[in-house]
Amino acid sequence: MVKLQGLYIILKLRGIPAFSMEFVHANLHPDLVSGFLTAISHFAKELRSDKQKDINLIKREDFVIMIEDGGKIFGALIADFDDRDARAILKRVLNLFEEEFDKDLDEFGINTLIFENFKDIAVKEFGSLLVNPFYFPKIINSDENIPMDPPIDQILCLIDGEKNLSEIAYEASIPVEEVCQAISLLESKNYVEMKVKIVLEDIFSPTEKATEAFSRETRYHSKIVDQFGDTGIDVLYALDGKRDLGEINDELQIAVNDLLKIIVYLLEEEFITWVELYPIIRGISPEQIMALTSDSVEQALAFTLLNMCDGTYPLSSISRKLELPRGEIRQFLKKFQNNVRWIEKKI
């Protein structure tokens, strides 16, 4: 998941930031960022005769500035890597901004107060990139000003500290992205806080950043070794997007607490990402299901799973619905042999 640092909406000709917000504290002055990016853009246009093309990416080893063009404005999004989804949202945010403030953008001098309310829209739009659907929301403030528009009211009813956002989305029949957007808005207003909760049934997969950490010569490798010794790298190697932490722990034989500490670190540093499994059962007849087991309870479970495992529902949701541990369901599904397929979705 891309890590966003800051958003700048800049008046194209003037180089003045109409709106800016930091997702993490970066100590960058928006007036300077805006002026600098505008000046570079002017340079680029003069250097090449094709004036229709604009700079769309400025890249450094540890961050990028994605740039998208609007009508009277352009947007700059600072993040850790160039991301297609982030760009699409940036483009959408620019359109919304121009729709809302078109006339104000032509005023002599820019009154930034006018644009301040746009923060809610920006936070919401970027919500699916700011909030991890595997995190657990907790209501910390429930005063009467809390926005209760749908689907927020529906989501709030389902927050119990036990369900993560992905599960809430499933129960509310709302797309995960929409739940993340709503939670992002609530979090920015301090109505909810997000907690990370890792259990041994969780499955993780290495990110692109991790590929660099596998090589001994790299700074990422040293960073992990400095923190956890070679065990940190062993854990990173073992996370294959298929086995859960319990299975990995059986193989590596390290203390559960130590394993969880390593996982939290790898997650925070974006070396790994959660994997949600979506089971699909196909090509099996009721007779074959009956033949899987003679136990009537297991037969009932098999039929239930047959109905649920169509690739729509994540394993975590199935587990919650059936009140069975994920590991137990995975184990049971092995009975279906080649009739079970697993779709892995990195989040």
């Binding site: 000709l13 007036d31 002026g35 002599f108 001098g109 930034t112």
Partner: protein, 175 residues
């Protein structure tokens, strides 16, 4: 309420030579951000009445790479032009500079700073207006959005100038 203005600070333009007319002491103290683009930025914050005014100063450092720098003037709310303060520029040269700036920045407020420039203000305005009428750009004398500021040898360009300019810019807004 914070009102932001883009202000270009530039020099007079008689040749393509690099002429540094702006020095650190010329602008109020404050952190300067160098870009190596032939352009530096400096931020000036003023409080006028209940409004806070941010001047985002683009310091163009002379006329080298003039062609590229022309784009900087587009969309400027204000332009501060520092003429050679050691000598009096001729009225023709001053008007030529104004015309050059107006090509890229037709609506900005221009502040001309120079030696004995304010005393010649009427002459400059008359002559510039006459040219505009001749070129068919205006029908009669009009508000040119140009201000004049005299600098004496011992004074240099002081902080009061930007204060004055911030008020001028603010007076043109609807806020």
């Amino acid at each position: 309420m914070t009102i932001k203005f883009k202000v270009i600070v530039t020099g007079s333009s008689n040749s393509d030579e690099e002429v540094f007319l702006i020095e650190e002491k010329d602008i109020l103290k404050g952190e300067k951000y160098q870009t190596n683009l032939g352009l530096d930025f400096k931020l000036q914050y003023k409080v006028i009445g209940e409004k806070s005014v941010n001047l985002i100063l683009w310091l163009t450092k002379g006329d080298k790479h003039k062609q590229i720098k022309q784009n900087f003037f587009k969309g400027a709310d204000g332009i501060v032009v520092l003429f050679d303060t050691s000598t009096e520029d001729k009225i023709d040269q001053i008007i030529n500079r104004i015309q050059e700036l107006r090509e890229n920045s037709p609506t900005s407020t221009i502040l001309l700073i120079g030696r004995n420039i304010r005393n010649r203000m009427n002459q400059i305005v008359e002559e510039y207006t006459r040219r505009l009428i001749k070129e068919g750009k205006v029908q009669k004398r009009t508000d040119l959005n140009i201000d004049f500021y005299d600098v004496l040898d011992e004074e240099g360009v002081g902080p009061a100038i930007l204060d004055f300019f911030a008020r001028k810019l603010l007076s043109r807004t609807n806020y």
